[in-house]
C-alpha cells in the first residue's frame, strides 16, 4: 500500500539509481528511536541546482520559501502502545530491507512487512535468520548467503544478542 505524498518522492531514483546511503536523509537512524524524515533543506542540497523548475518539486520549493515542513504521510505506523527503537536494531545487525523490503526498487514507498506482534516475535525468537555484518545493514542489495544460519549464530555471539528476554511483554509494551 502506498500513500498520496505531497511530492512523489522515489527511493528507486534516489537509492537504486543514484546510490545514496539511507543516512544522507534518515540521519538519526543510528542514534535514536526514529529514523527521521529529511527536512526540506536536505532535498535542497541537490535540488537548489537540479530540476529547479520541475512542477513535481514545486511543493519542496514552497516549503522552503514558507518555512513550513513538507507534510509526509506516514507509511509504517505502529499502534501507540508499542515501543520500537531503530538504533538498537541497526547496531545489532538488522538491516533496513529486512523490515522495509526492497526500498531501492520502490517508486512510491510502501509498507513491506505486516508489523504484527507475531512478526516482531518471530525474529526476536530466532534473530540468526536475519542478522548481517554491520557494514551491510544499509545495503539495499544484501541477501542472505547459503550459510546464513551459521553466520547469524556467529554474529549473535559477536554482537552479544541474547534472546532470553527479547519476548518479554515489557520489551515492546512499556
Amino acid at each position: 500500500m502506498t500513500r498520496n505524498q505531497p511530492v512523489p518522492f522515489s527511493h528507486e531514483h534516489h537509492v537504486g539509481g543514484l546510490g545514496l546511503d539511507c543516512r544522507y536523509c534518515h540521519t538519526s537512524v543510528e542514534k535514536a528511536r526514529f529514523a527521521g524524515l529529511p527536512p526540506t533543506e536536505t532535498c535542497m542540497t541537490c535540488h537548489s541546482q537540479l530540476w529547479t523548475n520541475a512542477e513535481m518539486l514545486a511543493p519542496v520549493r514552497a516549503s522552503l520559501a514558507r518555512n513550513t515542513p513538507i507534510a509526509w504521510q506516514r507509511v509504517n505506523r505502529l499502534p501507540d502502545y508499542v515501543y520500537f527503537d531503530h538504533s538498537i536494531h541497526v547496531a545489532k545487525g538488522v538491516g533496513c530491507t529486512t523490515c522495509h523490503g526492497p526500498i531501492d526498487q520502490m517508486r512510491l514507498t510502501r509498507q513491506a512487512a505486516p508489523l504484527t506482534m507475531q512478526w516482531c516475535i518471530d525474529c526476536h525468537r530466532s534473530p540468526q535468520k536475519a542478522l548481517r555484518p554491520r557494514d551491510a545493514v544499509f545495503d539495499p542489495k544484501w541477501s542472505p548467503p547459503q550459510n546464513q544460519e551459521a553466520l547469524g549464530r556467529k554474529l549473535m555471539a559477536e554482537y552479544h544478542v541474547r534472546v532470553d528476554h527479547l519476548t518479554d511483554c515489557s520489551i515492546c509494551h512499556r
Binding site: 546510490g19 544522507y24 540521519t27 542540497t45 541537490c46 515542513p69 507534510a71 506516514r74
Partner: protein, 175 residues
C-alpha cells in the same frame, strides 16, 4: 442531589475524552506528527533563540580540540565521507560524483594544488558553513566526524600522489 450527580457526570466526561479505548491512538504528539496548535503546523518546533541544548558545550569544544588521527578515526571518516560527500565529490575526491554526472555544478578536485595546500581548518569550515552552491552539512555531520572526514580527505590526497619510489616493495607487484 448535586453531590450524587457529580460522580456520574465526571465519569461521563472522562470517558468521552478518550474516544479510542484500544489505546492505538493515544492523545499525544509523536515525532513528526501534525499539530494545528503551532504556527508551523508540526510538533517539531525550532529552539527558541539563545537555548543551549545538553551536550552543546561538549560538541562545541570538539570543534576546537582536534581528535588524534588514528586508524579508527580514518575508518569513521571514510564511512561518513562516503555517505555525505561522495555523491558530489566522488569516492576518490576528484569531483565527479554521481550527482555531478546528473548535472550538479562540479566541485573542484581535492587533488588540485590549491586544496592540497589548504589547511585542515578550511575543510572543517566548509563542512560547517557550506561554500558557494554547496550547503552546510553541520546539521548532519557532528564536529568529531567532521575531523574524521578531514583526516580521510588528507589520506585521499596522499594516495593520489603516492610515489612508487616511496614504497619499493610495490614495484615488484606492478606490471
Amino acid at each position: 442531589m448535586i453531590e450524587r450527580l457529580a460522580i456520574p457526570i465526571c465519569a461521563a466526561l472522562l470517558l468521552s475524552a478518550c474516544d479510542d479505548v484500544s489505546m492505538t491512538q493515544q492523545n499525544r504528539y509523536r515525532t513528526f506528527t501534525r499539530a494545528a496548535l503551532f504556527d508551523n503546523g508540526t510538533e517539531a518546533q525550532p529552539l527558541p533563540d539563545g537555548v543551549v541544548a545538553q551536550g552543546d558545550l561538549r560538541r562545541q569544544s570538539r570543534s576546537v580540540q582536534r581528535p588524534q588521527v588514528n586508524a579508527e578515526l580514518l575508518k569513521r571518516g571514510r564511512e561518513r565521507y562516503d555517505i555525505y560527500c561522495s555523491p558530489c565529490h566522488g569516492l576518490s575526491g576528484s569531483g565527479d560524483g554521481v550527482v555531478v554526472q546528473r548535472g550538479f555544478p562540479a566541485p573542484p578536485s581535492y587533488h588540485g594544488s590549491r586544496l592540497r595546500a589548504a589547511s585542515a581548518q578550511h575543510f572543517f569550515d566548509v563542512i560547517t558553513n557550506g561554500h558557494g552552491v554547496m550547503f552546510s552539512y553541520a546539521a548532519r555531520v557532528d564536529p568529531s566526524d567532521r575531523w574524521g572526514i578531514v583526516a580521510y580527505i588528507r589520506a585521499l590526497q596522499e594516495s593520489q600522489r603516492a610515489n612508487v619510489a616511496d614504497t619499493p616493495e610495490l614495484r615488484t607487484r606492478l606490471p
